[in-house]
Homo-oligomer: 188 residues x 2
């Protein structure tokens, strides 16, 4: 019989983040995460495939949010307007989780393997956005270029946002980043 | 005494590509590559750190070409014009190696590990381009956004170029891709 621990996923996440911060990602084991959370390893593996999954388990939800944002943008929206609407929705949600995002970023920055995994996650998001744009009838290479541009905007804004000295919110940073992309790509 | 084998690097590359194509990257050993090239493993390791390095050993040269292209662009060039000049120079060089690039792409496409490595290489190129732009006095976030946009243009053009059905050359595809990026990011 599987016993369901209410809030166990959140407790495991908090314990993992604390341990990653204290002793580093590489030096933390699943057994230690479970112990810190007051749960069993078995409960850990009911929620996550491995300790890396604690950091990247949210990628699927982010991708769904971006893809549905593109799909649900008004029919009149240009490809860029559709991805901008999707980024705005994602940014509003992430903004509510700034504290966790800052800790997560510090853990990822400290590890080459995790930085690489983050880049691969962003590339997967670009691929999903391009699919969503093609689903709106956007042709290639416009769909892929718009998707890659959107992820560039997101990446640059996100890096500013998680900087400890930053005080601007993510939706604002994404709008600024998009305006800057338009400025640097404008013909002159 | 180290014996220098003239053309040994090229022979090892050709042997590695042939074997990767025949039996897959994972199923090819350095010993087999050396044997096929009629050389010793020792000679292999004089040129490459491992079999993956045969596929990615050119990344440093590409990065240098892009960085010097940005650094040497006319002072009057906008950030985007500077990266466009750099991409044009890189594309002209790569165009001369189309046959090898097509084989390489087929090998990379067949392996998750290698596709991820290719994404990480592109991200490193974006970082190097942003550094080069900051070296020209371009501020953030314009430098990072221009660099990421340039790599998006390159990635999309490169993927079209290595498609077996493609007949356009890489410099042309890069110019088309850049024009398309400008079109999708233009205000309306």
């Amino acid at each position: 019989m599987v016993r369901w621990e209410p809030g166990s996923r959140g407790r495991l996440e908090a314990a993992a983040m604390a341990l990653f911060g204290e002793r580093g990602f590489e030096n933390t084991t699943v057994a230690e995460i479970a112990e810190r959370a007051g749960l069993t390893e078995r409960t850990f593996f009911r929620h996550f495939t491995d300790k890396r999954d604690v950091l990247f388990g949210g990628a699927g939800a982010l991708q769904e949010l971006l893809v549905s944002g593109v799909a649900n943008a008004p029919a009149s929206a240009s490809p860029l307007e559709a991805v901008a609407a999707a980024l705005d929705a994602a940014a509003a949600l992430l903004q509510q989780r700034r504290a966790g995002a800052t800790v997560r970023q510090a853990v990822i920055s400290a590890s080459t393997e995790l930085r690489e995994r983050e880049l691969i996650k962003l590339a997967a998001l670009a691929t999903a956005l391009a699919d969503a744009l093609r689903g709106r009838g956007v042709k290639e290479p416009a769909a892929s270029l718009t998707a890659e541009a959107a992820i560039a905007v997101f990446k640059v804004a996100f890096e500013s946002w998680v900087d400890p000295s930053n005080e601007r919110d993510l939706p604002r940073l994404i709008r600024d980043s998009l305006a800057e992309l338009k400025a640097v790509t404008a013909d002159r």
